[in-house]
C-alpha cells in the first residue's frame, strides 16, 4: 500500500488513485493507439501499469474499404461499422510522457434506483 503523507491534499490524491486501482482504464497515447486494461500501479510521473491489456488501433484505409465492401455485399443499410483493430498484450507499463488521455469506466448501481 502507498505511504500517506501528512499533507491532506496528498492524502486525498492517494485515496483517489487508490480507488481507481483494479478498475478498467482507457489510455490514449501519442501515436494514436489506445490501451485498455486494469490499473495496477502508478507513480508521480503518471507512469501507469495495466494488466490484462488490449491494444486498440484506429482502422486503416484498407480496413474501412473492406468493411464498406462487405456492408454493401451483405445488402445492409445505414452506416458502416468498422471495428478497431484489437490485440491482447497482457501486462504493460505506459510511460506518463506518452499519455494524452485517461478515461475510466463508470457504472451506476441498480440498487440506487430502488
Amino acid at each position: 500500500m502507498a505511504d500517506g503523507e501528512a499533507n491532506p491534499d496528498s492524502v486525498q490524491a492517494v485515496q483517489y488513485l487508490d480507488d481507481l486501482l483494479n478498475k478498467t482504464l482507457h489510455l490514449h497515447i501519442t501515436d494514436g493507439r489506445m490501451f485498455v486494461g486494469q490499473l495496477k500501479c502508478t507513480d508521480n510521473e503518471r507512469n501507469i501499469i495495466l494488466a490484462m491489456t488490449h491494444e486498440y488501433r484506429q482502422p486503416s484505409q484498407a480496413d474501412v474499404k473492406l468493411a464498406a465492401e462487405r456492408h454493401e455485399k451483405g445488402g445492409l443499410s445505414g452506416n458502416v461499422k468498422v471495428g478497431m483493430r484489437k490485440r491482447f498484450l497482457g501486462l504493460v507499463v505506459v510511460p506518463g510522457q506518452y499519455i494524452e488521455k485517461v478515461e475510466s469506466c463508470w457504472t451506476t448501481s441498480i440498487t440506487s434506483q430502488i
Partner: protein, 764 residues
C-alpha cells in the same frame, strides 16, 4: 446487490490452510476476491466512459518521487515482466517515425515463377526452423501471404484477396500466386496444425522444447487437411497446362509434391517418411529461385497478440534447413523401426529402444519425440496384442518370476474365487494398478529432453521407495496364500524369501538412482571436486543392484529345480531366457560398480594430492553442501543411502599412490572382462533386439573409457614417481603445482556418462 454477492461468493472460494500448500492457495483466493470486489463494485445499471485525464494528472503530481500507488497484491517482481510501451525493444506495436504500420507489399499481385519458387523454399526453410522450437511469429507467420490468409479479417475459403473482389481474369503470374502459392501456404499451415496436435497430445515442455503459441490467430479452422490436398491437386493441374518455363514448372511441381506428401504423412498412421526425405533433391533447383525479401517481414508482429517483446526473424542457411528436414524424416522412420512388433514383445528391449532413440545424434526434435510417444501411448496398448498390463506383467516375469505361476497370464483367467491363483491374481493386479503410472514413466520420460529425464527420474526415486512399502505388504499377503520358496539367508542367520514384487520395485529404484547420477554427469551438474563422491555413490548403488540380482538369481535357480519335467517346455524356456538375461544384467551392474570404483579412486587421489580442489568457501559447511547435493536420495526409507560420515570413512588416503594405481588398474581389468562378456551376448540373451548397433557402439565407447582411465592413471603414477612420492601415503603428500587436471565437458567424452579427468604434467 447482486454483484456484491458475487464478490462475497468469490471471497468464500478459500481452501483450508491446513496443508503446506494451503497458504499459497489461500493467498491466491484472497487476491482473486479482492480484485473481483474492486472490479465489480457497484456494478450493474448503466455504464460509460469518463475523461479523468486532468484529475489523474493532478493526483499523480502530488505523489512523492518514487512513491507508488499500487494494488496490495501486485508485486514489483511481476512488474518486471511488463512491456514498456513506445520502447522499440519492448513494444511490438511501436512504429518508428517515417515507417508504416504494415509492410508495403501487395500480396495479391502476380509474381514470376522464380520468385514464387523462392517464397516456397523460404517457407520450407522457416518450417524447419519452427520445428526446432522457434515461435511462429518469428518463422512461418512472417510470410505476408500466410499472414493475409490467417488474418482475422479473412473468411473461408481463405483467399488472398479480401472481400469477394475475385480477380476474374488472371494472368499466369497472378495464377501462380493465387492458385499455386496459395495452395502451398494452406497445406503448410494445415500441416502446422497437425504437428501441433501431435505435440500437444503428448508430454513436452513449453518454451524448453517447443513454442505452441498461436498469437491470437487460428490455423484456417474451416479448411481440413483433405481440402488442402485438393487445392494442391488443382494447382498441379493448373501448372501442367500453364505457360511456364519447363524447368521452372518441374521445380514448382516438386515443391507442391513435397507439401502434399508432408501433409499426407501427418494425416495417415502408416506411411513412409522416407518418401519425404527423398525429396531433398529440391536442393538443386533452389539455385533458380529469385529472392523477393519484401514478401516476408517481422512487422507482422505488430498485429499479433503477444505478451513478449518484438523478436527477430530466424536465419539458418538453406542447406541447414534441408539437413533438419532429413533428420526429422530419419527420426520418424527410426521411431517406427524401434517400436516394431518384435521389439515390443520384450519390455526391456523396448526400453533399450527408447533410450537408443533419445541418444540419436543429433537429438530428435520435439515432434519426433512426440511421434514416438504417440506410437506407444496413444492407444490402449503398446502394440498389437500387448496391452500396458501385459507389458508390465512380462517385465515382472522376465526379471523376478520367470516360470512362476504367480505371473502366468493363465492364472489371471482363473475364475473360481477359492482358487489361490484367482486370489493372488487380484492382489497382484491391485499392486500393478498402483505401480502403473511410475512404471509407464520409465518409458515416457525417456522421450523428454535430457535435463528433464534426469529431473523426473530424481522424483521417481521417492515414488519407487514408497511403492516398495506397498510391495512389501503385498508380498506378505501373497506369501500367506501361496507360500514361496524359502532359502537360507545370504549374509547372516535366518531364512529369506524372494519377496518378488519388492525385489522388482527395488531393482527399478536402484536403476533409477544410478541413472540420475549418470545423467548428472552428462548434464554437467557436478563440480569437479564432487566427482569423487558421486562416483562412490554410483558404485554403492551398482553394488546393491548386483546383490539384488544375485538374490533373484538364487531363487530362479531354486525355482527351476521345482519344475516338473513332464510339463510344457514353456516354463523351462522362460526360466532359461530369464537366467541368461539376469546374468547379463549382473555383468552390467558389475561393470558399473567397477568403473565407478576406479574413477572414484582416481578422483579421490587427485583431491588428496591437492591437484583437484574445491574453491575456497569460508561459509560453506560440508554437511549442508552434502544435504543439498544428495537431497533426492535422503528421503529414501528402504535401504537408506550411506551418510556423509560413511562416505568419508571409505577413503583410501592411507594407501600409497603406487598401491592405489595398481588397484585402479586391477579394477579396470575386471571391468574390461565384463565388457568382453557382454560383447559375446546375443540380442536375445541381452534383450537388445532392434538396438544391436547401439549395443556394439556403446561397448566400444566403454572400452575406450577404460583404456583412458588406465592411461590417466599411469600418467599420474609417472609424475608421482618423478617427484619421489610414489610410495608414501598420499595424505602427507601434495603434487599441487606439478600436475594440472582438466575435466572434459559432455560431448567430448568417450562416453558421456563417464567423466575421465585428463591429467597433464605442468612444465615448470
Amino acid at each position: 446487490m447482486p454483484e456484491d454477492d458475487l464478490a462475497d461468493e468469490a471471497s468464500h472460494l478459500t481452501i483450508d490452510g491446513d496443508n503446506p500448500n494451503g497458504d499459497d492457495i489461500g493467498f491466491a483466493a484472497k487476491r482473486l476476491a479482492h480484485e473481483a470486489r474492486k472490479t465489480l463494485s457497484s456494478g450493474g445499471g448503466s455504464r460509460g466512459i469518463r475523461d479523468v485525464t486532468q484529475e489523474f494528472a493532478a493526483a499523480a503530481k502530488l505523489l512523492q518521487p518514487g512513491q507508488l500507488v499500487k494494488d496490495e497484491y501486485f508485486t514489483l517482481f511481476e512488474a518486471v515482466g511488463a512491456l514498456e510501451i513506445m520502447d522499440p525493444k519492448m513494444d511490438s506495436g511501436y512504429v518508428p517515425p517515417g515507417d508504416t504500420l504494415e509492410p508495403d507489399f501487395d500480396v495479391c499481385k502476380g509474381l514470376p515463377a522464380e520468385q514464387v519458387l523462392w517464397i516456397m523454399d523460404e517457407l520450407l526453410r522457416l518450417t524447419a526452423v519452427w520445428h526446432d522450437g522457434y515461435p511462429l511469429s518469428q518463422t512461418i507467420f512472417t510470410s505476408l501471404h500466410v499472414d493475409r490468409l490467417l488474418s482475422p479479417d479473412n473468411r473461408p475459403p481463405y483467399h488472398l484477396f479480401y472481400g469477394d473482389t475475385a480477380l476474374l481474369v488472371m494472368t499466369t503470374e497472378q495464377r501462380l500466386v493465387h492458385i499455386v502459392l496459395r495452395a502451398y501456404c494452406i497445406a503448410l499451415v494445415k500441416s502446422c496444425a497437425l504437428v501441433l496436435h501431435t505435440i500437444q497430445s503428448q508430454n513436452f515442455y513449453e518454451e524448453e522444447d517447443f513454442v505452441t503459441h498461436l498469437f491470437g490467430r487460428e490455423l484456417l479452422p474451416s479448411t481440413g487437411a483433405n481440402d488442402a490436398v485438393k487445392l494442391i491437386d488443382e494447382a498441379v493441374k493448373f501448372l501442367d497446362g500453364a505457360d511456364v518455363d519447363k524447368v521452372m514448372r518441374t521445380a514448382l511441381l516438386e515443391r507442391l509434391q513435397f507439401a502434399r506428401t508432408y501433409i499426407s504423412l501427418l494425416v495417415s498412421d502408416s506411411a513412409d517418411w522416407n518418401t519425404l526425405a527423398a525429396m531433398g533433391r529440391s536442393a538443386e533447383t533452389h539455385k533458380l529461385a529469385q529472392p523477393i525479401l519484401e514478401a516476408f517481414s517481422d512487422k507482422v508482429q505488430r498485429q499479433l497478440a503477444t505478451s513478449t517483446p518484438p523478436r527477430p526473424m530466424i536465419i539458418i542457411s538453406w542447406d541447414e534447413a534441408l539437413e533438419r528436414w532429413k533428420a526429422i524424416c530419419a527420426d520418424i522412420v527410426e521411431a517406427d523401426r524401434l517400436t516394431c512388433f518384435d521389439v515390443c514383445q520384450s519390455p526391456h528391449a523396448l526400453h533399450r529402444a527408447i533410450w537408443a532413440f533419445a541418444y540419436r545424434e543429433p537429438q530428435p526434435n520435439t515432434f519426433a519425440r512426440a511421434y514416438l510417444q504417440t506410437i506407444l501411448f496413444a492407444s490402449e496398448q503398446i502394440t498389437e496384442g500387448m496391452a500396458f498390463f501385459d507389458l508390465m506383467l512380462t517385465d515382472m516375469r522376465d526379471l523376478v518370476l520367470a516360470g512362476d505361476v504367480l505371473v502366468d497370464p493363465h492364472s489371471f483367467l482363473v475364475e473360481i474365487p477359492s482358487d489361490p491363483r484367482h486370489k493372488c491374481s487380484r492382489i497382484v493386479e491391485t499392486f500393478m494398478d498402483k505401480a502403473f503410472d511410475e512404471y509407464m514413466n520409465l518409458y515416457r520420460m525417456v522421450c523428454q529432453n535430457r535435463c528433464r529425464i534426469r529431473r523426473t527420474f530424481t522424483q521417481s526415486v521417492a515414488i519407487f521407495d514408497s511403492l516398495e512399502t506397498e510391495a512389501m505388504r503385498t508380498d506378505a499377503e501373497l506369501d500367506g496364500i501361496t507360500p514361496g520358496i524359502v532359502l537360507a539367508g545370504e549374509d547372516g542367520p535366518g531364512n529369506v524369501t524372494l519377496t518378488p514384487l519388492t525385489s522388482w520395485v527395488k531393482y527399478y529404484k536402484l536403476q533409477t538412482m544410478a541413472w540420475t547420477i549418470q545423467l548428472g554427469f552428462e548434464t554437467d551438474i557436478y563440480l569437479p571436486h564432487e566427482l569423487s563422491m558421486m562416483y562412490w555413490y554410483l558404485m554403492v548403488f551398482a553394488r546393491r543392484e548386483r546383490k539384488l540380482l544375485e538374490h533373484i538369481e538364487r531363487f530362479l535357480a531354486a525355482r527351476q529345480k521345482t519344475f516338473v519335467s513332464s510339463r510344457d517346455a514353456r516354463q523351462d524356456d522362460e526360466a532359461a531366457a530369464s537366467q541368461e538375461w539376469l546374468a547379463v544384467l549382473h555383468k552390467q551392474a558389475d561393470f558399473t560398480a567397477l568403473l565407478s570404483s576406479a574413477l572414484w579412486q582416481v578422483s579421490e587421489l587427485l583431491m588428496t594430492l591437492c591437484i583437484l580442489q574445491p574453491a575456497k568457501r569460508d561459509y560453506a559447511q560440508e554437511q549442508l553442501l552434502y544435504d543439498v547435493r544428495m537431497k533426492s536420495y535422503l528421503g529414501i526409507a528402504h535401504d537408506p543411502i550411506p551418510t556423509l560420515e560413511e562416505y568419508k570413512s571409505a577413503t583410501q588416503s592411507d594407501r600409497s599412490i603406487e598401491d592405489t594405481c595398481n588397484n585402479i588398474n586391477g579394477t579396470i581389468a575386471d571391468a574390461k572382462s565384463c565388457l568382453a562378456y557382454m560383447k559375446k551376448t546375443t540380442p536375445e540373451q541381452g534383450k537388445y533386439i532392434g538396438t544391436g548397433e547401439q549395443w556394439k557402439r556403446e561397448i566400444k565407447q566403454l572400452e575406450t573409457t577404460c583404456v583412458a582411465v588406465a592411461v590417466q592413471t599411469s600418467q599420474l603414477r609417472r609424475v608421482a614417481d618423478k617427484h619421489g612420492k610414489l610410495l608414501g601415503a598420499p595424505r602427507d603428500q601434495s603434487l599441487k603445482g606439478a600436475v594440472e587436471v582438466s575435466i572434459p565437458p559432455a560431448g567430448s567424452r568417450y562416453h558421456d556418462w563417464w567423466v575421465v579427468p585428463q591429467i597433464r604434467e605442468k612444465k615448470t
